[in-house]
Point group: D2
Chain length 397, copies 4
């Protein structure tokens, strides 16, 4: 799975007819298989930590999403592929029912990968059949688009999780995992914003977005600046060489505890592939919020707020906010004013995670292209490092 | 330690002379002993969970604060009471040096309580001597005031921690712990605020405040309302009786996990004193943020933002914000714009905890009276329940 | 993998020529593949508890044994299949070097099953080539016989481990696992022995045996009786129905703790295949020593000592000691008088486990036929239940 | 609590009248208080690991034993001191009822030490009153003698537990704990025994002994020799200096695992009192079975069997078997032939611990003198090091 072999498809925002919707669905589904092509059944079975899910599970769960929220709900006489899958591949939807324990997904040897592939084909066929019956969009068109975006999220997670799984093989590099060796063409610079009353968040009338991206609302900002470049491996190396991981005054309390308990001394994966050459001009990635925050303090700067990030990203001022690494912000993940989750079990998608986590903005090289939005709110815990997460600096003027 | 026997002293905001500073210091120090009067040495030794510290440790640590930041820094020829105490009673100041492991404070049998009392007297005498040498305020007057406020914080913590320790004795009620059986005189009502651009945070020029309360800054708010009353035990009982702890749709994901793993079914301590009569009109307390949030969702409301709370508390609109229970907000604990911690080790006081925790506002019946401020930002983890923490509801207009 | 499909081969005790040794080697190696035939790569990758190893690992480790102790030691110019395998597939031989952590064997996705099969073929070929060069036995003939017995031990472990792995699939019975539904033809009876001075243990001059089976030595026994039958599922059901798992007076202290902590209420697997019919006359299996001991106490009997078991098994008195289930004894695993482990790393095979474990005697339906011996000493911890372990009662006369 | 200040009393084996029984009881009870004289309430409250009990708990539990098995059973109208104590101070007698969790004994601040002392006086008075009513021995005389021996066992445990608790104070030596600096007068020598059929175990007709010491029975022994001296600190130092803790070939598998996981590099407490001078000629103590076994292997010897130890100890051949350190044997703790525990709850005293532990023989300097017997079977887990446990070597002739 080399980075060059991935050609993420573009999710059409405007699938206004059933055939165009089917084309979207088809492209998204194919891409998941494309990502996993080079992996053996053994690679797709294992779970190396509770946060990681086996590839096989991702492939099944994304199918379960279409089956549960569309086929079972809207298609008369639909026969589930296997009644037990409702339980096995439910991630966290209490509204649907009990779930197979998350931490034990790697102990599930059956269904096998072949059986999961058959499950996927069953779902693909059932959806395709329904969409072929009329040119008009079905009632559940929005849910299908949501399911496509959901699968795209899991396409990125599959790649982060595979990278983690393969790193546990004592011999690295059995499968080429996603890295970035692009060079940063231009010198770092700063773009200023005068602050004041701004608006962020997705309009209801805009194209597809997750519920947590709205409602659009006002925020007051102090005058600030964002750096035009991402922090690079070379920049981060200077932090390490300056004793970054040995100086408690640079760290949040949780960060210093993690440094000691987890024996952090570099971003995740730096040590695991000793032969691999680190591109000094490529963006640093696989750092936690705690490391990003320590780096910023060391540099005499800070992490941006999510509103600062969004207001500059959506202005014609700043390029390169997307497609490299997700960027930690110093904003806790919380509901926007008057936020309301969707009704029903699908309302559990985003809302119930709105505490204790931090927002990341942008997108990474593992994000399917059409999946990125300026209003997108990704979120992980302060300690998480296995995502394609990096750093962009900010400061007050 | 009955609630009536506690008469918290008033910290003079304006200790403008050495004698007035000494009076302040004297009163604060005496109050700590007053709180622990009814406790036996055994009660003051034990640690029932890592968050809890033994009373004996609190009594020593608050003395250590004065010794470390004032006597050792500013008083020539000062001889530490015991060189080992620097290590034993350092809470979390990496700038000072290594710390005795927090989770093992309850395994420290020596120094004994008597020895800790002797340590306190040693510190009291040394500070008093220095303050008696001149009517002028010494260079370290600000640090002494900080140390007094620090000790007041620990006075509240001592009471929450003692309550937890005594709850582990199979027989409850050996020592009367702090409860509130006041009746809510008036019916619940709502006070509205039009929103817009407001200012919150402490002015530099105002009286004493912790560094995390400033700088004062602008925030944009949507029109909102706060409830004039705190949620009562009776209100919360209705939530329980309506299946509140059995309905996942009411809970954040972390909340539902805690309900199942920790077997939560009521606020902390409701079960531990079966004979104790629960005052239905008294404010509910010992609920976590996760429970407060679930209650608010059940009630069709939400928790206030800290800016909403402060702007109404500081207006002449809403009474009773203080002195009963701390009130969970839906604001994550984060630095205000342009926040800078104090320089030196004392800068670790607040700043390094600014992630993953939630802000509580107000004060409780255990808070020394003069210690409460409208700008005060208390903070704990979403799961914490052993503080005197309760609920005030909010809603958008 | 049905029980009928397994036809264990007979290890020739008298492989006196190189060709006969090759035939033995060939048969043992083939049998391992035969056992795993019905399993998919996913089934062979997973580890459900630290005691369990993935099938794939067993297949590789048994090959590693021949490579490490024979090919690398005795064959000039032998080129290891893969230098990293020395580390990956070393079970516990410190004399060879460091070992991949036992509890993480299930996180190793590479080498894949196909690669492990290639490794096996490489070893098979190398050994076969060496044995074909002369009719005389090579210097390492004894080690090859040891390696064959070693692989036979793992053939049984593969079956116990596979049974455990498949039990974690929510749907039982995807692969038929080893069970015994034979009927106990005759009524239980007791065979008496007068006690006195007896001899047990393997003679040096007898056929193959592990080092822990000797030296042969004298033991004094009190007059005793052994039951001719194994305890059956029906017998054990009576124990359960009489409240066996709820009466602390029947249990060793560790047993009662396990009942409460592990929620034991029946032998392992009784609950996991609800549809499966329990043969009431078949021997109970998958009980721990702690359960076997509690059952014996309930029955007013006791478990045999290993010397009692052996002296009756090797006399022409008692039939049916082998081939159903291993039988827990009340003898701790300890060295016989003047026991000396073999020299070199292979000396770690048995000796270093001689504390804290209990001896089991006999053999099970999963034991390759020629692998069973009356002097054989199997050993597991008191709590272990995933082996094919059952109960034979004893009493003093 | 210096070693010289302890003058253990002699339990009269022949208390044939009520007054002599009372004198025995009085002496034993007084000695417990004598042992704890130098300790503060804080020292007596804390529990540093689950195996350790607070001194306060020991003082109460030994009183509970008399109350539960004598006063409540045999004394009409006896009023328990406190009904809750039945639960709080029951160690492990399921026949009596539920028990306060062992691992939480250190969280019990109430009853205070003063209250426990009052409890002791209450029990002392009640027993004394009953014994004063007649010169004849009461029906429960045997239970009272058992209770006295039980308290003597706890007198030794109090000292091992106190030593552990005080070792957690960062400053060692606040209270002088039991050490031995006696010199070994004579050079090590070996005493031979021809083996053959011997008898061990306590006769029913002999004086007081615990049920696990009988019945007396025959054992066959090979010719062997025991060392006349205990292994000294100097001997053990040579083992360490020869890389004893770094050579896996010297260790049982569990031993090597403990060395790595627990970071063992010397006997317990060697590091904790750096100023303390180690008497090189004093017996090594605070070693686990695993260390004792590794030392013996390094020395080219082995640990004795318990029968070997007893047969030489009870012959007029070998002096110095008692009063220094308990000596690990290579015998697992198991019932002697035809062993039957006493009936009723007191039958749980010994029998239910008969698996997974190793026998120690002899007695230590902490053992009350009259409490030692050649037939005494002490038992602990292979990893336990906090007892006064040492090493005597053996070998086959």
């Amino acid at each position: 799975m080399s980075s060059t072999s991935i050609e993420p498809i573009q999710v059409a925002q405007e699938a206004t007819t059933a055939p165009s919707l089917l084309a979207l669905f088809h492209d998204v589904r194919q891409h998941s298989l494309h990502i996993t092509e080079a992996l053996r059944p053994e690679d797709q079975t294992v779970q190396t930590m509770p946060d990681v899910s086996p590839t096989k599970w991702h492939l099944a769960h994304t199918s379960w999403f279409f089956e549960t929220f569309i086929l079972r709900e809207f298609v008369a006489h639909y026969r589930p592929f296997d009644p037990e899958y409702e339980y096995l591949f439910n991630s966290y939807y209490n509204g649907i029912g009990a779930q197979y324990p998350r931490g034990k997904r790697g102990l599930m040897t059956r269904p096998t990968l072949d059986e999961v592939h058959a499950y996927r084909r069953h779902i693909d066929g059932a959806i395709a059949f329904e969409l072929s019956q009329s040119d008009d969009l079905p009632d559940w068109a929005d849910l299908l688009v949501l399911g496509c975006h959901h699968e795209q999220q899991h396409q990125e997670l599959m790649q982060t999780d595979i990278k983690h799984v393969l790193s546990y093989n004592s011999r690295g590099g059995v499968v080429e995992v996603l890295t970035d060796d692009t060079r940063t063409a231009k010198a770092a610079d700063w773009v200023a914003h005068p602050g004041g009353l701004v608006e962020i968040g997705a309009e209801d009338s805009s194209g597809f977005h997750f519920d947590n991206e709205g409602p659009r609302h006002k925020v007051w900002l102090e005058p600030f600046r964002l750096c035009t470049n991402l922090v690079t491996n070379g920049d981060y190396m200077a932090f390490i060489q300056d004793g970054g991981y040995t100086r408690p005054e640079l760290w949040l309390s949780e960060g210093w505890a993690a440094v000691q308990q987890e024996q952090w001394g570099a971003p995740l994966y730096w040590d695991s592939a000793p032969g691999q050459k680190l591109g000094l001009e490529a963006p640093v990635m696989h750092v936690s919020f705690l490391e990003a925050d320590a780096y910023a303090r060391w540099a005499g700067k800070r992490l941006p707020l999510e509103a600062e990030w969004e207001v500059l990203a959506s202005a014609p001022q700043l390029m390169g906010m997307h497609g490299k690494v997700w960027q930690w912000t110093n904003s806790a993940y919380a509901p926007y004013p008057r936020y309301r989750p969707a009704s029903g079990a699908v309302g559990e998608y985003n809302g119930k995670f709105m505490n204790s986590q931090m927002v990341l903005r942008g997108s990474s090289m593992a994000t399917p292209t059409g999946h990125a939005r300026d209003t997108y709110r990704n979120f992980f815990y302060s300690k998480d490092r296995w995502q394609f997460s990096g750093i962009r600096l900010a400061e007050y003027q």
